[in-house]
């Protein structure tokens, strides 16, 4: 029956496109920029540079992916990476130990995200509100701690070398991605996150300790956000109390562009990798085209809206009677 076959084929193509739209968009942009920037885009050094500058965004977005998969959201990411970056820089200058700097940043991240997690699970405040509050709280904290000034990180330091420059920067990015992916796919932690995002009530009725899992996801995000803050500080060469304003929007865009639905349950870190690289590529390409930064911001806003639209389409694809 040819009618059946044609109908089936049409549906299969639509199905494929809808489920791989982020990858398709990535390829599309890649090709477009390659052909339209007088060869400046498609060089090894440029591509490595794009990748390098996307690492902090990627790491932060990996943590955010789990939060969004839960059905929650984190608006405090920008303030938190600034806070963790400053703590890392100050600790490094005091101890000359990159490990100590890393530990300090992670400790701060854990504490703040633990409080956010507590506010959400025990006090029942929606994550939108909690993280919005911490956007301000964290920003105020970093301003107080740094007295409003930046803390320089010496260029010759191990801090800069291992966290801010290639090749280590890329290795760390890849390692973070690999760890996040393995956790998502193979561990109970990843599975419980997905189930709670799929339907919190059903997850509870299936015996999952929802509050405990949510708390653990927040702590997980705390570690990754802290690491992103450290990488960012290493990249720009200082712990800065003013960096990262609006950063959370980039993070959420990267996650959502990659196909993780902000309604929870659908998506994953594989998509986030593509989303982060796409955003990095978009910035880079627009710069190569000579676009001023306002235009870049404008286009990023449009991309975010389209990304959400597409991710909604994906979930709507499920037939619910």
């Amino acid at each position: 029956m040819t009618m059946t076959q044609t109908i089936q084929k049409k549906q299969n193509i639509m199905h494929f496109l809808k489920n791989n739209i982020s990858f398709a968009a990535f390829i599309f942009l890649f090709i477009m920029f390659s052909f339209s920037s007088n060869g400046k885009f498609l060089t090894v050094s440029n591509l490595l540079s794009v990748s390098g500058s996307s690492v902090d965004l990627l790491i932060c977005a990996l943590g955010a992916t789990f939060i969004i998969m839960l059905g929650s959201i984190d608006l405090s990411a920008g303030s938190m990476i600034s806070l963790c970056g400053v703590f890392a820089a100050k600790t490094y200058n005091a101890t000359h130990s990159t490990w100590a700097a890393l530990a300090a940043a992670i400790a701060v991240g854990l504490v703040f995200y633990a409080i956010m997690g507590f506010a959400h699970t025990k006090l029942q405040v929606p994550t939108f509100i909690v993280s919005l509050g911490f956007l301000s709280i964290a920003r105020a904290s970093v301003t107080m701690v740094s007295s409003g000034t930046i803390t320089m990180i010496p260029f010759e330091s191990t801090f800069k070398k291992f966290l801010g420059l290639k090749p280590w920067l890329l290795i760390i990015g890849l390692a973070a991605f690999a760890i996040a992916w393995l956790i998502e796919r193979y561990t109970l932690f990843g599975r419980y996150t997905r189930l709670i995002g799929g339907d919190e009530t059903v997850a509870r009725l299936s015996g999952i300790n929802v509050n405990k899992q949510k708390m653990m996801v927040f702590l997980f995000a705390g570690v990754f956000t802290a690491l992103a803050g450290v990488v960012m500080a290493a990249r720009i060469g200082s712990g800065s109390p003013s960096v990262g304003q609006g950063y959370e929007l980039n993070v959420i865009s990267a996650v959502v562009l990659g196909g993780t639905s902000q309604r929870g349950g659908i998506g994953g870190v594989r998509g986030t990798l593509i989303g982060a690289l796409t955003l990095g590529m978009l910035s880079n390409g627009l710069v190569l085209w000579g676009m001023p930064s306002e235009v870049q911001l404008f286009i990023k806003g449009i991309v975010l809206i389209l990304a959400v639209y597409v991710s909604l389409e994906r979930k709507r694809n499920m037939v619910i009677k």
Binding site: Q11, F189, R191, L205
Partner: protein, 501 residues
Amino acid sequence: MLEVAVVFKGIKKYFSGTKALDWDSEDFIEVNSGEIHGLVGENGAGKSTLFQVLMGIYERTAGEILLFGEQYNVENVHKAEEAGISIIMQQPNFAYNMTVAENIFMGRDKEFTNKAGLIDWKKQNEATLKILKEYNYDHIKPTDILSNLGFEEKKQVEIARALSIKPKVLLVDETSAAISKESVENLYKLLREQRDKGTAVIYISHFIDEIYNLCDRVSILRDGKLIKKLVVKDTTPNMIINSMVGRDISGNNYRSDNSTIGDVVLEVKNYTMEGSFTDINLSVKTGEIVGIAGIGGCGSDAFGRALFGYEKATSGEVIFKGKNGHMSSPQKAIKNGIGYIPKDRDQEGLFLIYDAVLNTSSANMKKMSKNGIVNHKMERKVAQDAVKQFRIKTPSELTAVSNLSGGNRQKVAIAKWITNDSDLLIVNSPTRGVDVGAKYEIYKILETLKNEGKSIILISDELPELLGMCDRVYCFRKGRKSGEFCRGVNFTEEHVVSTMV
């Protein structure tokens, strides 16, 4: 009065991965005005899909629909209702935070809106009261908020709404499941009145005796195909069942009697939950199926939830396996060997966006993992076995369960808890909306569990089910235990019903 109201011809409706309806191009169903036309079939046969195509909820992939002789194509429910077709659905769809009046007239409030765009609420409430009175539903007030109404009353508002459109074609989708006997009789009366008025009524049901009670003709679907069309008075129930199922299921014996009953495993004393049930005393032994019979509002649902730790009881004693049986959370209950199959499978039992694999393993993750690492191979195998054993109709175990029909989703919901190996399984309405063949399979599964020495609490309002499956039945009425029956002693419908109502 034998005007042809609706003709369905050659209908096909494909979803990604499933052919919900796949009639041959010459197959047709004709429904006349002034007829109650039954539509039966197993789960996944395509009955609800046919309705949804007619109501404009889905666009058909192929085929023709004629409404009073004219070609019929609508893009949405609103247009379908304007064409004179209305539907009473399996699951009521309401704006629960709004009033009865607002829900009944949703989308139709133009007649109460003046030129400035302001709505005359008084007029709307009066019109609503008129409608409610017409169907003897005036114990419900137009200003009542939907979420405050009980299950029965919500159904009644749904029915009132569908009839207030003054439909020429009325679709009824398995409405009599889960409502009281009195409401069922009322519903039949309304449907017969509609038929006598000349409305074409198409009625989906799983109850064969209902088809005989109500319908003039019946069309039988199976696996998306149109199998047979029969005139009810010229057929026997077995003929219908055999066409539905494609195999011979005769002999209604749900179980064979043998003694597997052991010692008391659960004892409940003075168990109370304020607002739901009071002073319940009962016990359950190993290898026993204990039924809890009752109609809406009797407290049996809350009782099940409390035992599972999902809701908190106010006072009382629970002894399970010799120790304190109060469960503070479902997690604790599962750890102690208690499972719970909820009444509302879609809202509470299943992750609709996920596949059968994730669903069946979701209550059993500790066993499906080692040291925190998930064993994908094992859970996939478990799901595949479940699909085979329960005859779940799905393209694969990797298909999202939202794509499955109601009855097949129920099978997945049950499979989820069977694989959990619970000592005590609390089951609420396990065969609601499930067809004859699948019902039998589910009963066989429960019987196997009983024979393995497990205990089952079966909460249900279906008497044949309770009498067919249970060793003992407790009756709940308005939150209290109103009776207790043992197999062999007064174990008949009449006796049990008298304590239920």
